[in-house]
């Protein structure tokens, strides 16, 4: 049973990691935090659900559509919340993202109802591996997350624009002085982060066969916890954080009680913040 819980944990953890990567991109590049990321995740999940159930699209189209929706939404959020308040520190944009998250969630309830919306089962086959039944879906999700992460890495390390993003993340004033269009980089980072969050949403919806308006709240916070664990600016840290939280959650269910599952992420977040705020692999932080 332990192996089964482990595989479960890694699958879920990879999805947390995807959400966490969004936060890393945003915080790394813009030094800012958004509380609307969970709702972007939720919107992605709904778009994916509709793609599968209403428009009967294949899964890769649903994923692509979800990511596109996330990208667009992220782009708009950056324009509304962050661009007008460039000089205003991190509190005002944070508060606006809080307002946006409230609005998005309420709209989702009004338009779609608060109840679960069913998502069809995909990749249903199971096959034995290391003594347990592994579901094809788990493998597919791990693979897809892997692909997205590799894609992100390639973008950041091996492209012109990726270099610009890294430069901005390191020192956006210096990057600006070197001719980087910092505003565009910020938009890009936010949109990209949102696309990743939305992708996680689509996959979570498929994994649990359900989407519902409140699903972004805890997902966003857990992604945040993973991001903090790894260090707010470290990509490998975020991935590690996500996986660890996913696995520990499932072990908690196995050995303690299922009700305490969510405590894991928050406990991790609190402990890391109190003991070592820069996380496992993050760089030393300037005052923020």
């Amino acid at each position: 049973m332990l192996v089964a819980q482990l595989i479960n944990g890694l699958t879920q953890g990879s999805l947390y990691a995807l959400i966490a990567l969004g936060f890393v991109l945003i915080f790394g590049t813009m030094n800012l935090v958004t509380f609307a990321h969970g709702e972007v995740f939720m919107v992605g999940a709904f778009v994916g659900c509709f793609a599968l159930t209403l428009w009967h699209l294949p899964w890769y189209a649903a994923l692509a559509l979800g990511m596109l929706a996330g990208w667009t939404l992220g782009f708009c959020i950056e324009k509304v919340a962050f661009r007008p308040l460039r000089a205003a520190g991190h509190m005002p944009p944070l508060l606006i993202t809080i307002g946006l998250s409230i609005i998005l969630r309420d709209l989702a309830v009004i338009l779609f109802g608060a109840e679960n919306r069913s998502v069809p089962s995909l990749f249903d086959q199971t096959f034995p591996l290391a003594g347990v039944q592994v579901s094809l879906l788990q493998i597919v999700i791990l693979a897809l997350v892997g692909v997205l992460i590799v894609g992100l890495h390639t973008l950041l390390q091996h492209t012109e624009i990726g270099r610009a993003m890294r430069a901005t993340a390191q020192d956006h004033e210096a990057a600006y002085a070197m001719g980087v269009n910092v505003n565009r980089i910020f938009s890009l980072a936010f949109a990209l982060a949102s696309a990743l969050g939305a992708a996680a949403g689509v996959l979570v919806g498929i994994y649990y066969n359900a989407v519902y308006p409140a699903m972004g709240v805890t997902a966003g916070l857990k992604g945040f916890a993973a991001c903090i664990f790894g260090g707010l600016t470290s990509i490998p840290g975020a991935i590690l954080g996500g996986l660890i939280i996913g696995v520990v959650e499932n072990l908690t269910v196995q050995f303690i009680a299922s009700g305490y599952r969510d405590v894991v992420a928050f406990l991790v977040m609190v402990v890391v913040l109190v003991v070592r705020p820069q996380g496992l692999l993050g760089r030393k932080l300037r005052a923020v």
Binding site: M1, N8, E115, T126, Q133, A210, Q254
Partner: protein, 373 residues
């Protein structure tokens, strides 16, 4: 500042208009309803609404109650105890409302109970089956039977009828779930069954893979799941995904709903449950209701529609006898004996709940069917 003053004035004006009482005779008799019209239990509440609308239509078409039409004021509680309590405060303060139908879950009912009790207004729940609900206040009534009756019935179904001796339980962690589990477990143990493990989940839980994996390790023959259609459907799908197909699944009558089949699909095939109402019942009053419901809504009524239909008719008949005084309604309701409902004869015990006859159901070929050995 000006903004604030203006909105304050508007607020006071708007609300004081709301408070004006209406004239009496010829005016409809108003009954309040508190139930989940949206939210995770929306299916149940919407079924209530459909059945009650039908009931009101038939009552009014036949001349109403003592010449006055009946009107139902619908309030959405989402079966959330906070909302149920808030609606209770609103309803009890409105002197035009003579009685209340609701709420759906026992926890929501019990949260609102002290308010109806303090104000003195009948609280008739079509579905609360927790044994502590109705006895909690002289104003509280339940007509679906309690787990004290359903628990032993389901235990007999599992242990004696189906012959399963190794059982595990996964119940929703609230008043109702815990009571349902406890009565089942007590009866099952008396029949010689072995309870291998008990797990709980919260209402909003979506991920059952971890807890199912844990239960699978205990190798039970039957899994008894006090739950509602949403989680049961999800749970069944995830169980299927884990490849755990050699276990029987059973749940109480709360699962008897078409949405379970719709969401659960092939994963709920073979599920065992119970019902106090079955649309195939040949009794003339049941068929009249079923045909009328189908004609109006192009859908077959389920148990929840049936108990709601009984609720409105029972109240209408009671009001017909004693008028619209809240206390008089309560006193007369408590004396109800052998009232002919479509879910069976209703007689309130001194605890103001009822004993019900249950039927064995199973999901066969994607539909609910009576279980035959």
């Amino acid at each position: 500042m000006r903004r604030t003053v203006i909105s304050l004035v508007l607020a006071v004006a708007a609300v004081s208009l709301l408070g004006a009482p209406g004239a009496w005779s010829g005016e409809p008799i108003q009954i309040a309803l508190s139930g989940p019209l949206t939210g995770n239990f929306a299916e149940y509440g919407q079924n209530w609404q459909k059945a009650i609308s039908l009931g009101v239509e038939w009552i009014n078409a036949a001349g109403g109650v003592n010449g006055r039409p009946i009107a139902v004021i619908y309030g959405d509680s989402k079966s959330d105890p906070k909302e149920a309590a808030a609606l209770a405060q609103k309803y009890t303060a409105d002197s035009r409302l003579v009685a209340e139908i609701g709420d759906f879950s026992s926890t929501a009912c019990m949260a609102a109970q002290p308010i109806y009790d303090r104000a003195g207004m009948v609280q008739l729940s079509p579905t609360a089956s927790h044994p502590d609900f109705a006895p909690g206040s002289v104003w509280s009534f339940g007509i679906i039977g309690t787990q004290a009756g359903e628990g032993p019935f389901m235990a007999r179904y599992a242990v004696q009828l189906l012959g399963k001796k190794r059982l595990a339980i996964l119940n929703i962690n609230n008043d109702w779930g815990i009571a349902t589990r406890d009565y089942f477990v007590k009866a099952a143990k008396e029949m010689g069954a072995e309870i291998l493990g008990v797990e709980t989940y919260f209402e909003t839980e979506k991920d059952f893979t971890a807890v199912l994996t844990k239960l699978r390790g205990l190798k039970p023959e039957l899994l008894y799941v006090p739950s509602f259609y949403n989680e049961m459907a999800l749970m069944s799908k995830q169980r299927e995904k884990l490849g755990w197909t050699d276990v029987a699944m059973m749940g109480p009558g709360s699962l008897f709903s078409p949405k379970l089949l719709e969401i659960g699909g092939s994963a709920v095939e073979g599920l065992y449950t119970s019902a106090v109402f079955f649309p195939g019942d040949p009794r003339p009053d049941v068929q009249k209701f079923v045909k009328g419901f189908e004609a109006k809504y192009q859908a077959t009524p389920n148990m929840f529609a049936a108990v709601a239909f009984d609720s409105i008719n029972l109240l209408a008949d009671t009001i017909r006898k004693v008028g619209t005084d809240r206390k008089a309604i309560r006193d007369e309701l408590a004396k109800t004996k052998d009232w002919p409902g479509i879910t069976g004869k209703i007689t309130f015990t001194e605890r103001r709940d009822v004993y019900k006859d249950y039927r064995h159901l199973v999901v066969k070929n994607g539909r609910f069917a009576l279980f035959e050995k």
